[in-house]
Symmetry: C2
Subunit: 349 residues, 2 copies
């Protein structure tokens, strides 16, 4: 029996156009081995769409996406259009409309991929709150352009919002090494962080097998450089998770390979899978972009769609490809995007 999944594909801008087809090939190949068929629906949204129509996606774009089982996104962003248009015209509205409140970012040292901290084994997951917190629309400016100008930004944390992401993170830790570190900044006057701590502590009471640890975000950033192997699951607010996940990726040497899942864990809405890297206009069109972040994001998608075995096989395959030396330039190799994808497919076993 074949499982069929309808996937909305937004390759988007820059290298998104190269790494998405590479990953789709790999997903089709692993799918064929596990009785999984993908119906890929390619949507030509992104900056070209913006140039033609003044919008990153059609007015009814979110309604269109709602009908799919998942969204597979490459990258958005180009040098000549402000990020505020490209990101808030596509990425952020999708994260919010579909209550993708978990941004899941696994970070691992990968075989054959050089890390700045040679010889350390890193295997952690950052669970970033993805809908609220520091990324609120509330705020603005007064006395614009004058010497008296003031800008205000309001962070908004809700009990429901913190609780659900903490619960997801605790559940994940329970199935791993059982250690949940919560990033905080509750030693200052910041009102939202003691609240964050309280809610996380409350959630941990329901997970007796999970050891909770609270770390100040400044000390945690330092500690990720000094002792990255100590971490299992890290739960963090939207902004802290954004910073810590890039940092952890850099420490592991795998920032060009890093995947992410924007999850609606209840499955009421489609989840979205995208590499952590951006559209990389400097190398776009050359066929040399690293497709591993997109392929790994595809593995997260498989897992979320209920195909844990196929997901694990795909991960094993790209690790084997990396280990065998088929790597793009950004991680010390000479392979093209297509060569990496071919090596991943060849290693599916």
């Amino acid at each position: 029996m074949t499982a069929r999944h309808r996937i909305a594909v937004i390759a988007g801008d820059g290298i998104g156009q190269e790494v998405v087809p590479a990953a789709v090939e790999c997903l089709d190949a692993v799918g064929a081995r596990h009785g999984i068929a993908f119906d890929w629906h390619h949507l030509d949204w992104g900056s070209d769409h913006y140039r033609a129509h003044g919008r990153m996606m059609p007015v009814d774009g979110l309604d269109t996406l709602a009908g799919y089982d998942a969204i597979f996104l490459g990258a958005v962003g180009v040098p000549d259009i402000p990020d505020v248009e490209t990101l808030w015209g596509l990425l952020i509205p999708i994260r919010r409309a579909f209550a993708q409140y978990v941004n899941l970012r696994p970070v691992r040292t990968l075989p054959g991929v050089p890390s700045p901290l040679a010889g350390r084994e890193i295997d952690l997951v950052i669970v970033r709150e993805n809908n609220e917190g520091e990324y609120s629309e509330i705020g603005g400016r007064i006395y614009q352009g004058s010497a008296d100008e003031i800008a205000i930004q309001e962070s908004v944390f809700t009990r429901r919002g913190v609780e659900r992401v903490a619960r997801f993170a605790a559940g994940l830790a329970a199935g791993r090494r059982g250690l949940l570190t919560s990033a905080t900044k509750s030693n200052g006057i910041v009102h939202t962080m003691p609240f964050w701590d309280e809610v996380v502590r409350g959630v941990l009471a329901d997970y007796p097998g999970v050891t909770g640890r609270q770390e100040l975000v400044d000390a945690l950033a330092a500690s990720l450089v000094l002792h990255p192997e100590r971490y299992d699951v890290i739960v963090a607010s939207n902004l802290f998770g954004d910073i810590l996940s890039d940092l952890a990726g850099a420490v592991a040497g795998s920032i060009g390979c890093a995947p992410s899942g924007n999850l609606n864990p209840e499955g009421k809405h489609p989840s979205m899978f995208e590499p952590v890297h951006g559209s990389a206009p400097d190398i776009a069109g050359k066929g040399i972009a690293n497709p591993i972040g997109q392929i790994w994001s595809g593995a997260l998608m498989l897992d979320t769609l209920g195909h844990a075995e196929a997901a694990a096989e795909l991960v094993t395959a790209f690790e084997a490809a990396l280990e065998s030396g088929v790597r793009t330039r950004d991680i010390g190799g000479t392979a093209t995007t297509a060569e990496v994808a071919a090596a991943v497919r060849a290693n599916l076993t």
Copy 2:
């Protein structure tokens, strides 16, 4: 002719009681060589004061401090009193009352001190905004304890506040390698960061010799791990500066040695000098704390008081001491606090 300076000394909690006397010795020694005399006024403020009087410092503490040329602080914070009391009862009020709007944090690889990124030369300064931004008192909670609870934190950035710190940072860069990196997060909806960027850009127009660069804080955190030698001066908001300075210290291997100056650049009010590390209750009372952060903070104080030569001599002396192998345990040695201080004095030349 002797220059005299009246210095308020708050050794404070934990290892503050050990590293401050060690640094005072070194400052007296270098002062004697340069015609500088310190009148040290020891104030027994901190957590013991809190236990005895319910306050970290007397009601008129700030008035007392106003009369000094500078404040030399060890550390505050103990396990049994909430940070909100110890920090907001002493550290933060001082930073604000005396318009110490610059938090200056030099980060360097030090001779003999192992860094996690072996073989990289790091020499940068973080200029952290120290009075406003994300550390505002504004915010709170509603529906406390209920499922509907919401917590709000308001970040407040003023044109005056951003401009003055950016101007300080640009001036500093002009006297160094001429590169100013500004940490931002203006690719999202966060209203305050495009404002920050605008003000920094405006200030840079007055410093044609300085090259300005804007980096997203997430990418900057990663880049500090991958290419720390690229940075000269980094200007950042209160929260971003807090995170980035701990991170950079960890990358350089010198977090236990890191100094800071809370500066009122106009000299209308006393500035305050303190190591970046905390009170370290776990090793307090053993005589093994690393005094370099406190000694280096003393060098920043000398510099700010107009004694650049004496400051440079003190830095050279502690670098020589470190290079000769006299190091505390946290940086791979076996020396005691007193032995390090003695070696620094012996290396003054």
